[in-house]
Every structure is written in C-alpha cells, then in structure tokens.
C-alpha cells in the first residue's frame, strides 16, 4: 500500500487542525490573512478529500479503504485505526465541502463580536473533529473526535450567538455530554465483554455478528449508546436542545450543526450500534421507529407554530432526521441506504436553508416572520428565489435531493426486516406520509408569509443588498449538489449500496 493511501485521510482530517494552529500564530490585526488562511486550509483539506473520493475504489463493495491501523495507546489497547468505506465517504466529503463553504462565507460575514481569528480557528478545530468521527474505527479514537466537536461548537454558540446564547451553549454542551457519557459506558462495556478486549470497531462487529455478546449485555449496552447517539441526532424527545442551539448559533455554526454534527448520531447507529449489537438492534428497532415516526409528525406540527424563521428550520431538522432514523430502524439495506442519502441531502439542503436565513437576518436584523412581513421576492428577488428553491427541495420534491432519502425510508418502512413487525412499521410509514403533507404545509405557508405578498411599508425605503458575490460562491456548490443528487441519486446510492450490503451481511440481514 502506498504512503498516500495510508496517510491521505489522516492528512485531510488533520489539515484543518494545522490550520487552526497556524491561524493562532497570526497577529490579530491581519484580518485578511486570517480569513485567507481559513479558506486556504479548508480548501486544501477539501482538495485532499476530493482526491480521496476520486481514488476510492467504488467497485470493491464493503471493505475499508485508505486504511491505517497502528499502535496508539497500547496500555489501554486503543489503536489509531482509521479508514473509509462507502458509508463514510459521502459524509466525509460533505464535511469538507460544508466547512470550506463556511470559511468562504466567513470572508464577508463575521458575526458579533468579531474576533475573526478565534472564530475561524474554532471552525477548523470543529472540522477535524467532525471528519475524524467518520473515519475512526477505534472506539476510543471515535470518542475523542466525537467529544472534540463539542468544545468548538460550544464556544461558537456561546460567544458568537445571539441574545440567549449562554443558555443555548450550555444546554447544547451538557445535554450532548450527558448522552456521550452513556455512550462511553456502552463502549467500555463492549471493550470488556469482547474477548480479547478490543476497542476496534471492525473486531467488535465481528464479535457482535457471531453472537459473542450475550443478549442481556446487548440490551444494556445498546441503551447506553442509544442515548448518546439519540441525543446527538436528535431523536424525539431528546431534541429540545436543538432549536435553542440553532436559534442562537451564528450562521456558520447552524450550517455545520445541521449539516454535519447531527449526522454523527445517525452515523453512530449505522456504524456501531447496529452491527456490534445486532440482537439489541432488533429488539429496540420498533421503539426507534416509533420515536422516528413521532418526530416526523411532531416536528412538522411544531414548525407550524413557529414565529422565528430560524427556529422553524431548526424544528424541520428534527423531522428530517426522523426520516433518517425511520430508515435505520427498518434494518434493511434500502432503509440504511435511504438514511445515508437522507443525511447527505439534509446536509446540503438544511445547510443551505440556514445560509439563507442567516442572510435574511443580515439584511433585516430580524428573524421574526411577522416582522419580515412578506415581499422578500420583490425586495430581494435572488435571495427570495434561492430560499424558495431550497424550501421546496426540503419538502421533498422529486428531482431534488430531499426526495430520495425520504421516499426510500418510507419504502423500507413498508417492508421492514423480517424479524420486525410489518404492520407496525406500515403504521410508521403512514405517519411519515402524513408528515410529508404537513411538511409541505409549513414550508409553503412559510414561503407565503416571507417570500410572497408585497413589501411592507417599513422595508420599502431600506437599501438592502441582494445576494452578494461571496454568498453565491458559498451557495452555488450546494445548489448544484441539491439538483445533482436529485437527478442522479446514484452519486450517493452508488457509493453506499455496496458498503451497506456488506454491513447487512455482517448484521445477518
């Protein structure tokens, strides 16, 4: 194996960290240099990630590629084991893409109270944490990346957030930490129960699929990791940190939070919880499906009650992640493919929605739907047009990215894995179907109140700029992605399908 193959994903993952350090040494006054470095490092990392995607062998099915497995902390048996497969790759590339676009956006938009240097350094640190989560194949390594993400996001919300930022930041930090404590408990259990003791995810998967874990243990351990992952997703009813975090976070914080952070939870289910604890997964799947179905309907209804645009989008995330979890709960190849597709699509679409809302706020200095008062498409036709397009993508229009994850999740729910109760899951499917109607309802109603109608008197004279060049640069890739994934779903399914089948094989499905 060439040195490139052994080191590529590590290079991409840690380049942002290097960037963060470099930026730390640049004097504060050199704003331009700081911003350029942010773009440079995220851009370089993205370039490496793209090179990895190009070098990826798509025909190989499930196996790990770009793998590196080496000594790390021998005393506890933790190894530096990283690699990438069809399940990781889409999320991995998405991480670098969104981080880069956020750095570009930061070129022009640094929220109060400024401090560009710290703002960008934290973004870069965050990027390393997120990317690392998707390539770690050692539980300790996974956990470190997982926790690494918390700190920069905590500060991004706590320092650059809006009015109620401290509450939101602490809530985000402690709630997710609360979950990860139980997750860690589950990990430690796996380690001690495996014989020989190991933190290696692939080895644990082998143990799990060969029935090496007792049923009782699986049920307990699953409950632990479930809590960690479910809070991160977030699944109903553990979602209440999310609307607060989103509402208060700065724009790029929201984009990365919705775009990547939430996927760490769903990814954890697919990568760890299901294959390592297959018996428990089957036992818990109906409950997960139930929570997912509730999330879809509940979030859609809650969206209808929102008066704050950003909070509305935040709640919509809960619903969309409900579809992802519903797919996972079916324990079928279609469902899990749907889940990964849904994660990527949600990353593009909801990331884009938060960009739009951020730009609306930048112009109007309010996010209250009633204050905006309509007429956005008259006042700012391009911003309004992009917003409408993305909202329509988010409600699941075929031909755009949001459709396939949703519809395949529903399809898998019609026909879940053999061990599951088909009637029950068809009930979830019906709930999901009702959810799609409600989702269309709240998005179209939102557009009616924000985009349509005439410009209210108070905004008539205001000189508000339409979409700026830097915004186009950071949005166009997402807009293209939304169309491309909708028209060519193979872009994602072609990558994930082999790996998912390999995983299901392990899982005995």
């Amino acid at each position: 194996m060439s040195g490139w193959e052994r080191s590529a994903i590590s290079i991409a993952t840690f380049l942002p960290l290097v960037g963060a350090v470099v930026i730390a040494f640049v004097p504060k006054e050199k704003e331009r240099a700081v911003r350029s470095l942010g773009i440079l490092f995220t851009g370089a990392a993205l370039a490496v990630a793209v090179a990895i995607a190009i070098g990826f062998d798509y025909g190989s099915g499930g196996g790990l590629q770009f793998e590196l497995d080496t000594r790390w902390i021998p005393v506890i048996g933790a190894r530096y084991h990283v690699g990438i497969d069809g399940i990781s790759l889409p999320l991995y590339v998405l991480t670098f893409l969104l981080s880069f676009l956020c750095a570009v956006y930061t070129w022009r938009f640094v929220p109060e109270p400024g401090k560009t240097k710290a703002f960008l350094a934290l973004q870069l640190l965050l990027e390393t944490g997120m990317a690392g989560t998707f390539i770690a194949f050692d539980l300790v390594l996974f956990f470190i990346f997982w926790e690494l993400v918390l700190v920069p996001m905590y500060f991004l919300i706590g320092i650059w957030g809006s009015a109620n930022r401290e509450y939101a930041a602490i809530k985000f930090f402690l709630y997710t930490l609360f979950g990860s404590v139980f997750m860690l408990l589950g990990f430690l259990g796996m380690y001690f129960r495996a014989d020989p003791h190991t933190f290696d995810i692939l080895k644990l998967q082998a143990v799990g699929s060969s029935g090496g874990f007792s049923h009782t243990f699986q049920l307990v351990a699953f409950a632990g990791v479930f809590l960690g992952f479910a809070i991160k997703v977030p699944m109903w009813p553990f979602h209440t940190w999310l609307p607060d975090a989103h509402t208060e976070a700065p724009t790029v914080g929201s984009v990365l939070l919705a775009g990547i952070l939430l996927k760490m939870g769903t990814y954890g289910f697919v990568r760890i919880a299901l294959p390592v604890l297959p018996y428990a997964a089957q036992k818990y799947a109906p409950w997960i499906g139930l929570l997912a179905a509730i999330a879809i309907v509940y979030a859609a209804l809650a969206c209808l009650a929102q008066r704050d645009l950003k909070r509305l989008i935040a709640f919509s995330s809960v619903g969309h992640m409900g579809f992802v979890m519903l797919g996972i709960a079916t324990l079928t190849p279609i469902g899990i493919n749907a889940a990964i597709f849904g994660m990527v699509a949600h990353g593009l679409i909801t990331g884009m929605l938060f960009f739009c809302v951020g730009s609306v706020y930048d112009r109007y200095h309010t996010r209250q739907i009633a204050d905006l008062g309509g007429g956005l498409m008259q006042k700012l036709p391009y911003l309004g047009g992009v917003f409408a397009f993305v909202a329509i993508a988010s409600l699941g229009l075929p031909g755009l990215a949001g459709f396939w994850g949703e519809v395949m999740a529903l399809l898998s729910s019609y026909n879940p894995a053999g061990v599951l109760n088909t009637g029950l899951f068809r009930g979830f499917m019906v709930a999901g179907g009702v959810g799609t109607v409600l989702t269309a309802g709240y998005f179209l109603w939102m557009l009616q109140r924000v985009n349509m109608g005439t410009v209210p008197e108070k905004w008539k004279e205001a000189a508000l700029p339409d979409v700026l060049a830097v915004e186009w640069v950071s949005w166009v890739p997402l807009l293209i992605g939304i169309v491309a994934l909708g028209v060519f779903p193979r872009i994602v399914f072609g990558v994930t399908d082999g790996a998912v089948r390999g995983l299901m094989h392990l899982f005995g499905g």
Binding site: F178, T240, Q306, Y414, N415, G441, D497
Partner: protein, 645 residues
C-alpha cells in the same frame, strides 16, 4: 416486429422542453421576445416529432420500449425508460398540441407581465414533467414527473403571488393533491415490493398472470386511485381546482384542463391490469366516486359567475366521466381515453377563449360581460364550437367521445349511465348559460372590448379545428381508427348504439334549448341564484371548503400546532429544566466530591441538565469543565462495575 421508426425518439419529445427551461432561465431575458422563443421552438419540434411517432402506429407499427439504468438500492433496480405504444403517441400529441398552443397564446396574453420569462421557464418544466409521465415505463420515473407537475402547478397558480388569494390558492392546490399523492406513493410501494420491479408492464404482466394475491392487488389499486383522485380533482379532493383558476388563464388551459388533471385518468388506464384484477368493489368505488363527481361538479357549474370557474367545474365533471367509465371494463377504458383526447382539445379551446374574453374586459365575471359576439367574432365562434363540443352536440368531438362513454356504460352499468346522462343535460345547460351571459345580450362591463391579437386567436382557431376534426377518429363510420392506434387490436365492441346516441343528443339539445329560453333575454336576477336553499348549497360548494378549512386546516395549523409546541416547551423541555433545578438544589446540599462514586454519577447526570438562571456564571467560572471531569470519573468506575455484573 416492425422497425421502431420514430417511436424510438419519443423520449426526445419529453427531453426538449427541459432544455428549453434551462435556456430560458439563463438566457431568456436576452432574447428579443424575453424568452418565449425557446419554449415555442422546442415544443413545436416536439409536436412534429409526436406526429411522426403517431405515424409509426398509424402504419401499424409495434410497441417500442427501452431503458437505461438509473441507480440501484439494495435489491431494487431503478431505471429511466420509455414505453411507447399507441396510447403514448396519442398522449404525446395531446400534450404537445395544447402546450404549443398555450406557448404561442401566452406571447400575447402574458405580454408585459413582469415575470414573463419565468412564466415560460415553468411552462417548459411543466411540459417536460407531463411528457415524462406519458413516456415513462416505470413507476418511480412516473412519480417524479407527477410531483414536478404538482410543483409547477403550484408555481403557476401562484404566479401573481403579490395577491394573498393567489398564493393561498396555490398552497391549497399543492396540499390537496399531495394528500392524494401519499396513498399513491404507498400504492407504488405495494406493487414494487410485491413484484420486485418498478416496470409498469412487468407489473401488469405479473398481475395479469395472477402472481399476486387479490388483496394485494386491491390495496394497490385503491391506493393508486387516491393519487388519481387528487390529481384529477375528483370528489372529495376536487376542491383545489376551482381555486386554481387564480392562475393565468393559459395555465388553466394547459395544466388544469387538458394535461395534468388528465394524468390521473391516464394513470388509472396505464395500470388498468391492476384495476381489473382488484376486487370488484374497488371498481365500484371508482365508479361511485366518478358518478358523484360528475353530477356534483356539473351542478356547481350552474351558479358560478366567474367564467373560469364554470369551466373548472365542467373540467372536474368531464374528468369524472372518464374516471367513472374506468369502472366499466376495457370498453369503458377505451371510451374514457377517447374522451380524454377530445376533451383536451375543446376544453383548452374554451379556456383560451375565456382568456381572450378576460383579456378584453379585464374581469373574470360574466356579470361584467355580455354582447361580446360583435367585438370579438373569432373568439365567439371558436368558443361556440368548443361549447357545443362540451355540450355533446353532434358532430363535434365531445359528442363522439361522450357517446362512446354512454354506450359502454349502457351495458351493465345502468346507474352510471343514468347519472352520466343526467350530467350531460346539466352540462349542456350551464354551457349554454355561459355562452349566453358572455356573448349575448348587452355589454355590462367597462371600456371597449376588442378582439385578441393574432398570437391568441391563432391557437383558438387551431384548437377549434381540432375540436371539429378529432371526434371523427373515434366514429364508427370512420372505422374508429383511434381505437386501432391506441390498442392494436379490434376494439372491444363499442359500436354506435342508435338509441344511446339519440338519448344523449336529446339531453344535450334539451339543455341547450332550456338554456337559451332562460338566458335569451335580460333578467334582473340569475334564476340559478334564486332557488333558495338549493342555491345556497351550490354557492357554498356543498360546504366542503368550510368543512376542510374549519374542520381540518385551521385547527391543525393554529390549535394543534400550538398545543404541540406548548408540550415541547413545557413538558419535554420542562423535564430537562426541571432536572436541572433539581440537580442544583441537590448539589447545594451535597458536596459532590464527598459522596460515593455511584452518587457522584447520579449527581452528574442531574447536573448535566444544570442550566437555569445564572448561566453566564457557569460559562465564565469554568464549572462546565469541572462537571465534565466529575462525570467522566464516575463513568469509568461505573463501567467497571457494570462489566462485572
């Protein structure tokens, strides 16, 4: 098998308009006409190509099917493909003809509109989506086209979104049809999972061969019919179509008369094997829905003042003719398709004619029209031709197809027959009322109405010619060639039945005569509005809008959502915040470090949520890190205990 000829290129007809959409979007504003040119050219080319495709079948050519891989997920393969038979060819003709007419007509009608270019973009996307449905050989591709049509319908109904009433109508249309699309989607699931394929014709064969249980087939048929009910505006989901008239009139002609709303009927016909093999009661449901809608909508057409709403209810009613006949077996299906074909011509004609009138008088209301036959002769005569076809006067298109429908219903579907005959009478009457109020008597509006420009009258004349001509394709003395093209076999005996023809012509004439008698002279008050409770019932649309709005939409939007959000803030979040308060109280009394390990963990759990009040202090004091450290210490020890269990 004969060579595929031009049938091979049916997909090109569908692909052309999407190219036009892209060109118009990015370059349209720079062209001399602000963007109509691409749409007119591509749809025009598509029309010519459609004629060549049809020619293949006129010559007796065979079916052509081809597909390419789209993507795979788990065990399922998805393809993009085309299935081209006589029905496809005829549908291509219908869609491209009407779309071309509307593209040309809109040059004049939408002239000066501030979003002229955008209008043409969406028109092209819509045409693409409808043609995608028509050529599709599989259910998912069909679904994609189906839903894109829905969003185009939304965008075009709400084209003038400055007005709240327009955007509301657009939302209503989208949500109502989406309500039907959900069962439709589930119906697709049922078939795809049961057969393992998405290909419509493989599914048809498997169902035909009896590979699927009757229960599965019945469920699929019923669910798919849900989609047809929504898209084709059938009871009880018909309520969106009259409101959809808020859109520009060319849109009403294309989407809400000739093509999209017919897609539901097309779907039922395409998946006819599924319907035929379902339990008989499923077909009865189809027949009942069709029957109720046909008569119910026709009656609503009696009291409308808005000329487009008359036409909208008439569209619902005519679509219901087709739907109800889907329950009458293969002969009924053939007749229904023939009616779909002829209806597209005369209803598009009527809508475009009404558009010319609206363009001239700047109002949709017939109470502000009257006497327009003199200033608008071309519009008048073409409108009369369309109206006569709608009323079912021989020898126009509507007569032949309606006659086929009634003839096939007369054999064994007596109830349907009677309802449809009654509907024919009502149809003739409200059509006459519309013509009389619009074109006869004194002009009651403002200004001086004038004839429409050539870009608008041209399509009117073209569609009028079609309205006169296409009916003969299905006439038995012309060997009913339509049915040979469409089904490649001797049509199942729908012969010309003299007594049926006499009855239906009699009903039509009676309706016209009564209409002329009632509206032949000026009246203070429209007699239709003086029928007491019956009028109220009709004016209030059987109270269905009220029921939906006050019974479902508003409560969900305002009350249920508020309650749900309340539970979110006070129950779910309340538990979180409550745990925090408890933890703070607990930790004040207990010095965390002194306690046993298990207590420490419990404490930590509680403190995790410790974030009410005095939050800034937490952030600044570094307590977060201390709690985190505490938590981890507890966890590690707990883990050890736990693994020894």
């Amino acid at each position: 098998m004969t060579s595929p000829g031009f049938a091979k290129y049916a997909w090109v007809v569908a692909a052309l308009p999407i190219a036009s959409a892209g060109l118009t979007l990015f370059f349209g504003k720079r062209t001399p006409g602000r963007g109509w040119i691409y749409g007119v050219l591509t749809v025009g080319a598509g029309f010519v190509l459609s004629l060549l495709v049809l020619w293949h079948f006129v010559q007796g050519g065979g079916v052509y099917a081809s597909s390419v891989d789209w993507f795979r997920v788990g065990p399922l393969r998805f393809e993009i493909g085309q299935y081209v038979d006589g029905l496809t060819a005829v549908m291509l003709i219908v869609v491209t003809t009407v779309s071309l007419c509307v593209h040309v007509y809109s040059i004049g009608y939408m002239h000066g509109d501030q979003r002229f270019t955008w209008f043409y973009v969406v028109l092209s996307i819509f045409t693409f989506a409808m043609l995608t449905v028509v050529v599709s050989d599989n259910l998912f591709q069909l679904l994609v086209g189906w839903e894109i049509m829905g969003i185009c319908s939304y965008l075009l109904i709400g084209h003038w979104w400055e007005e709240h009433v327009n955007s509301s109508a657009a939302i209503k249309a989208f949500i109502t049809t989406k309500t039907g699309d959900v069962p439709f989607l589930f119906g697709i699931f049922v078939l795809v999972v049961a057969t393992g394929t998405t290909n419509i014709h493989q599914i048809g064969e498997l169902v035909g061969a009896g590979d699927l249980s009757r229960g599965v087939v019945s469920a699929a048929a019923l669910l798919l019919f849900g989609g047809a009910i929504g898209k084709s505006a059938q009871f009880p989901l018909h309520v969106w179509l009259p409101d959809a008239m808020q859109g520009p009139t060319p849109v009403s002609a294309l989407i809400h008369a000739a093509t999209m709303v017919a897609a539901g009927v097309y779907l039922v016909g395409r998946l006819f094997e599924v319907c035929v093999h379902a339990d008989p009661w499923v077909l009865q449901v189809v027949g009942i829905v069709g029957g109720i809608t046909a008569l119910g909508a026709a009656l609503l057409g009696l009291v409308q003042d808005d000329i487009k709403r008359v036409l909208a209810y008439s569209t619902i009613s005519q679509l219901a003719y087709m739907v109800s006949l889907m329950s009458a077996g293969p002969a009924g299906r053939n007749a229904a398709f023939f009616h779909l074909f002829t209806h597209a011509f005369f209803k598009a004609l009527l809508f475009l004619g009404s558009g010319a009138v609206i363009h001239a008088v700047h109002s949709n209301n017939m109470s502000e029209m009257g006497g327009l036959r003199k200033p608008m002769p071309i519009t008048f005569w073409t409108f009369v031709i369309g109206s006569a076809a709608l009323a079912g006067i021989p020898p126009l298109a509507g007569f032949w197809s309606k006659d086929e429908l009634l003839a096939s219903a007369s054999k064994g579907h007596e109830v349907v027959f009677v309802v449809l005959l009654l509907t024919a009478l009502v149809t003739a009457f409200y059509t006459t009322r519309m013509v009389m109020l619009t074109f006869f008597g004194e002009y009651r509006g403002h200004g001086h109405p004038h004839e429409a420009p050539a870009s608008m009258t041209g399509p009117l004349v073209a569609l009028a010619a079609g309205t006169v001509g296409v009916g003969f394709l299905g006439a038995s003395f012309a060997h009913a060639v339509f049915f040979k093209w469409v089904f490649f076999e001797e049509p199942e005996a729908i012969r010309f039945v003299p007594w049926v023809a006499a009855l239906s012509t009699g009903a039509a004439l009676l309706g016209v005569l009564v209409g002329v008698a009632v509206y032949g002279r000026a009246r203070e008050r429209d007699p239709m509005l003086a029928m007491g409770p019956f009028t109220t019932l009709l004016v209030r649309k059987y109270f269905m809008d009220d029921l939906y709005m006050k019974g479902i939409v508003l409560p969900v939007r305002d009350k249920v959502s508020a309650f749900v959000y309340w539970t979110n803030q006070n129950v779910l979040d309340g538990i979180v915040n409550g745990a925090a308060r408890l933890a703070r109280w607990f930790s004040r009394g207990v010095n965390g470090f002194d306690r046993t390990v298990v207590d420490g963990a419990v404490n930590g759990v509680a403190q995790t949520a410790g974030f009410t009040g005095g939050l800034l202090r937490y952030l600044q004091s570094g307590n977060v890190q201390r709690y985190a450290a505490l938590l981890f210490a507890g966890v590690v020890v707990l883990a050890v205990i736990f693994t020894r269990v």
